[in-house]
């Protein structure tokens, strides 16, 4: 082993990441090479300096108290039955819509809400991928998925199979987008996952397909009847749109 080869192994050697054979060949080289021993000493010194308490931060008491309050609120929200919560939300929305009609010029409003919902849907999709928790129920059977949602949500999400179009139904989970309860339907397309969030529509009435993107994800969304659909994935935007159109047509 020469010095150049050793240099590549010095960090994993220090970190205890080498197997026994590699470790002993590193040690053999170190024995006969003062330069490399010096390099190792430098790394050790840096490691030791990095253990200083001055480089650590601690959560403040203010943050701890804030979190405590927020967690209690979140726990209380989760414990409340879904129906009354939805009814209350619907009442708030009804008032807000009335106010919007009175105070806003016609055709205005709703866009910010859509943007916020789109961002939230993307965040939920990304978070589920990262937590490796895509599904509460694993099933490729649309009927089984649909019946699984029965009683869990104040609406019935339509579930369809798109295997012929290259989208395999993987399963579903209960989720929410912003404050809306949501059915999350997960489809696999090649190596990518697409989540279809189905929520109660904030405004009644059908809308055209709209698209947006955030954090590297694309989203296509629309309202259909009393429901809103939010299709999130990392596919080519045109491909995601095609899938959304098939979905839109099937409902």
């Amino acid at each position: 082993m020469n010095c150049k080869e050793l240099e590549a192994l010095l960090d994993p050697y220090l970190d205890g990441e080498l197997d026994t054979a590699q470790q002993s060949s590193v040690e053999q080289h170190l024995e006969g090479c003062a330069d490399c021993r010096h390099r190792l000493e430098d790394l050790r010194a840096l490691h030791k300096a990095l253990q200083s308490k001055d480089l650590r931060f601690q959560a403040s008491d203010t943050l701890k108290q804030r979190l405590q309050g927020e967690l209690e609120k979140a726990a209380a929200r989760e414990a409340r039955p879904r129906w009354p919560r939805y009814a209350a939300a619907a009442a708030v929305v009804a008032v807000a819509v009335t106010l919007a009609w009175v105070f806003l010029p016609l055709g205005h409003g709703g866009e910010d809400e859509d943007d916020a919902m789109a961002d939230a849907a993307i965040a939920e999709h990304a978070q589920a991928l990262s937590a490796k928790h895509l599904t509460d129920l694993v099933s490729a059977d649309p009927a089984a998925v649909q019946s699984w949602f029965t009683g869990k949500l104040p609406f019935n999400p339509p579930v369809h199979d798109f295997a012929a179009q290259g989208y395999t139904l993987v399963g579903a989970r209960l989720d929410h987008v912003k404050d809306e309860p949501a059915a999350a339907l997960v489809y696999q397309h090649g190596a990518d996952y697409v989540t279809v969030f189905v929520c109660p529509a904030l405004k009644a009435g059908d809308t055209d397909l709209d698209a947006d993107n955030d954090s590297g994800y694309d989203i296509v969304y629309w309202n259909q009847g009393a429901l809103s659909f939010w299709v999130v994935g990392k596919l080519d935007p045109a491909e995601l749109k095609r899938f959304s159109e098939s979905l839109h047509a099937s409902i």
Partner: protein
């Protein structure tokens, strides 16, 4: 009033003991106290929401992964205002460190000089260094948190350390005397 004390209680016992680690990571990534608190709050609430999906395993690693993910969502949105790509504010306060004799420097400014040097690391190098040096995670665990291959962890870590050594110009002495 907590309506779901069972879940909250378990969450508090399992996840909250790692709050300092979560805050420290967020603080190093955002380089800003206020933003770090926002990121941690968002991350902890997400963790609570997903707590049912946490089946054993290492809770700190799970939480840090969520903190990291929350940070990047925040970072993408606030990129323009983020302090992350610049030297930290503290850097301005160091009196000409080129001229300070090594021993004095280490005694008085050692941690400060290191802080600034870590702050200049690009994010993808900084996070790997933090997870290894502060949290003591193995390459495999870091690969899981950061979602890159182990070989990438190894090379980023090595380059991060090289960068620190270059910036410090051999001024840090961890007690080698």
């Amino acid at each position: 009033m907590a309506g779901n004390p069972g879940k909250l209680g378990r969450f508090e016992q399992t996840v909250l003991p790692h709050l300092d680690a979560a805050y420290s990571l967020a603080r190093w990534l955002t380089r800003n106290e206020h933003d770090a608190e926002d990121v941690v709050q968002e991350a902890v609430l997400r963790a609570f929401r997903f707590f049912e999906s946490f089946h054993g395993g290492e809770p700190r690693q799970w939480l840090l992964k969520i903190v990291r993910n929350t940070f990047y969502t925040w970072y993408d949105k606030n990129r323009k205002h983020a302090h992350t790509e610049t030297l930290g504010d503290e850097a301005m306060d160091i009196p000409g460190n080129e001229m300070t004799p090594e021993e004095v420097l280490i005694k008085e400014h050692g941690a400060q000089v290191l802080k600034d040097a870590i702050g200049t690391l690009p994010l993808e190098f900084r996070e790997v260094l933090l997870l290894r040096e502060f949290e003591g995670y193995s390459y495999k665990e870091i690969a899981d948190i950061v979602e890159v291959p182990i070989g990438t962890v190894m090379s980023r870590l090595s380059r991060a350390r090289q960068h620190l050594k270059d910036r410090l110009g051999g001024k840090v002495d961890g007690g080698r005397a």
